[in-house]
């Protein structure tokens, strides 16, 4: 028995040390990333949660319980901001998804020069939000902007766009749509090209029309891509800030004030850091709701059979 143990031990010990040694290297490799995540993600998250129950304004920091959250619900202005954010998100997602799917189908053709068109459609993605905001402000300019002069050419009166409180929000949505469709077009295109051509060939033999092929092959097969784009687009719709900051500063009369803009304004213009932290947690709840929707419904609605 003792001889047996002696015979087995060296080899076993060597294997254990290799494994422990590798595990040790595993920890060493992830330590920098983990420190980064703890310092700049986890700690701030806990910190923000704590702050949201205080009236911290860089001078005082008293515990105020749920007051910030109650204040948010009580303020009609804040509810308007949440309404703006949701409206912005809905308009953006609807337009963005419809247009990018249309573009993907359009550029999914074997035609000469199609890569040129794909590149042109992708160009807006390359502009920054600040550049997009400034360029579109020039396009919307009442007197010198080309949008009004094109409208005038067709006999339509000039509009105030960003200065008209009923048009401003949708005008900003257009900027995001313009900047975003090229990217989602590429994601949809990858999805379209992953659909096996045999399906279409079989459908053709059965005499299916183009619409039927779309309805019964493309649409269901594209469901995972569509769902993915939907989730990403809804999350990013809540994060709109740059173009609002550049184009309207939340105006006119708060018509384009969205959640992140309000958070920034409350925190860095008025120093209401506690109140702004509570707003940030409202944002987290909205985004979290989408993420949970994603987890719960992803298997029910989405066809992953491919």
């Amino acid at each position: 028995m003792a001889a047996l143990i002696q015979k087995l031990t060296p080899k076993k010990r060597w294997r254990m040390t290799l494994r422990t040694r590798r595990a040790m290297w595993g920890y060493i490799f992830i330590i920098p990333a983990m420190i980064y995540i703890i310092v700049w993600v986890i700690l701030p998250l806990i910190f923000a949660f704590g702050l949201s129950f205080t009236n911290y304004d860089t001078a005082t920091a008293d515990f105020v319980g749920l007051n910030n959250y109650l204040e948010i619900l009580r303020q009609p202005d804040t509810l308007d901001v949440i309404k703006n954010t949701l409206r912005f998100g809905l308009e953006l997602i609807a337009l963005n998804m419809a247009i990018s799917l249309f573009l993907a189908i359009l550029v999914d053709q074997k035609l000469r020069g199609i890569t040129f068109f794909r590149t042109v459609y992708y160009l807006p993605v390359l502009t920054s939000l600040v550049v997009a905001g400034i360029v579109w402000s020039a396009l919307y300019d009442y007197r010198t902007g080309p949008i009004n002069s094109i409208l005038n050419f067709f006999g339509i009166a000039s509009q105030q766009w960003l200065h008209d409180s009923s048009l401003a929000l949708t005008s900003v949505v257009f900027v995001r749509v313009w900047k975003g469709v090229g990217f989602n077009m590429m994601v949809f295109l990858a999805g379209l090209q992953a659909i096996p051509t045999e399906l279409y060939e079989a459908a053709s033999i059965d005499g299916a029309r183009a619409w039927e092929k779309f309805r019964y092959i493309t649409f269901p097969m594209l469901m995972p891509t569509t769902f993915y784009i939907f989730v990403m687009a809804s999350i990013s719709a809540f994060q709109v800030f740059g173009e609002i900051f550049v184009m309207t500063k939340g105006g006119p009369a708060g018509a384009t004030k969205t959640l992140i803009f309000l958070i920034w304004e409350q925190a860095f213009q008025y120093s209401n850091l506690g109140y702004a932290s509570a707003l940030a947690f409202i944002l987290l709840l909205l985004v979290g709701a989408i993420a949970i929707f994603n987890l719960v419904y992803v298997n029910r609605f989405v066809n992953y059979d491919r």
Partner: protein
């Protein structure tokens, strides 16, 4: 019969032409803002403000570029941005590769739990933690006149460190590279181990060279995302000497509200790097989008 064939041929041709017309119409619509930016940059003042729409400048006026660069130090902003973006890209590649390699190829106790934590951290919108990150930067120990407890000074505010440290890596990069490392075969690693390579040697000399494509993709996305970064510099910087391009441009816009010529000139210049990177890195960008839906 012959008639039928030729009409079928015609309808195929007609369909092709219709698609080209549609492609061109869409290209004009999506390309118009871009075209207007570049053409206005080269217009004269009179052409911009005449009241009639001038689509093409009569000649390539460079005045707008000169005015823009004379009224704001865009050269300085560009150098600042390149410095910050290059440092962040390098640290991102190194840190994400190390962590991605460990999560993808080394088994250690607690790996799955830590990876779930990483995914959660990745999904958290940065804006939620904007305020505490600002406070952490301001109270960063031993920076900007702060003592060891982070009191007394301005911390990382108005410093390159304040731009770099909170963006030292992108969490999605760990995820992206982990997915990539998992696809590599074990044989290479085993062979290197038999040859007596250390664990770090295997990572650095065997795995890193194999991941060139994935690293270039992540590098392109990190650099361009950093070039476009706006909200964090806005929060952390007051000193215009440290401004990065997007912040500099937005301040320039607020000071020259409807002076469209110089504004379009500056916007054109600031858009150039992203376009160059796209032209040279198209292969990697398309691959990145197709495989992960990664957004820069």
């Amino acid at each position: 019969m012959k008639n039928q064939l030729s009409s079928r041929f015609l309808s195929v041709q007609a369909r092709k032409i219709a698609i080209y017309v549609l492609l061109i119409v869409v290209a004009i619509q999506l390309g118009l803002p871009f075209f207007y930016m570049v053409s206005t940059a080269f217009k004269s003042r009179e052409e911009i403000f005449s009241g009639d729409m001038v689509w093409f400048p009569s000649s390539l006026h460079l005045d707008n570029f000169i005015t823009a660069f004379n009224s704001a130090p865009f050269g300085r902003y560009i150098l600042n941005t390149i410095f910050v973006a290059v440092v962040i890209t390098l640290t991102t590649l190194f840190l994400c590769a190390m962590a991605g390699y460990a999560f993808g190829r080394i088994s250690f106790p607690g790996r799955e739990v830590l990876f779930v934590m990483l995914i959660l951290a990745m999904s958290l919108p940065g804006e939620v933690t904007l305020i505490p990150r600002f406070l952490i930067a301001k109270n960063f120990p031993l920076a900007g006149g702060n003592d060891i407890f982070g009191r007394g000074g301005i911390g990382l505010i108005d410093s390159y460190g304040g731009l770099i440290l909170p963006n030292l890596m992108r969490i999605y990069g760990v995820f992206l590279l982990r997915q990539f490392f998992r696809t590599l075969p074990n044989e290479l690693e085993d062979a290197a181990r038999i040859d007596g390579a250390s664990e770090f040697g295997i990572f650095w000399r065997v795995m890193m060279p194999l991941s060139k494509t994935a690293l270039i993709t992540l590098g392109i996305f990190t650099f361009t995302a950093q070039w476009d970064e706006f909200i964090w510099p806005l929060v952390i910087l007051n000193d215009s000497n440290k401004f990065v391009v997007q912040l500099g441009l937005s301040v320039f816009y607020s000071e020259h509200q409807v002076d469209w010529g110089p504004l379009m000139a500056a916007s054109t210049i600031i858009s150039l790097p992203a376009i160059f990177i796209f032209i040279f890195g198209q292969k990697y960008i398309v691959k990145g989008i197709a495989t992960t839906g990664l957004k820069g």
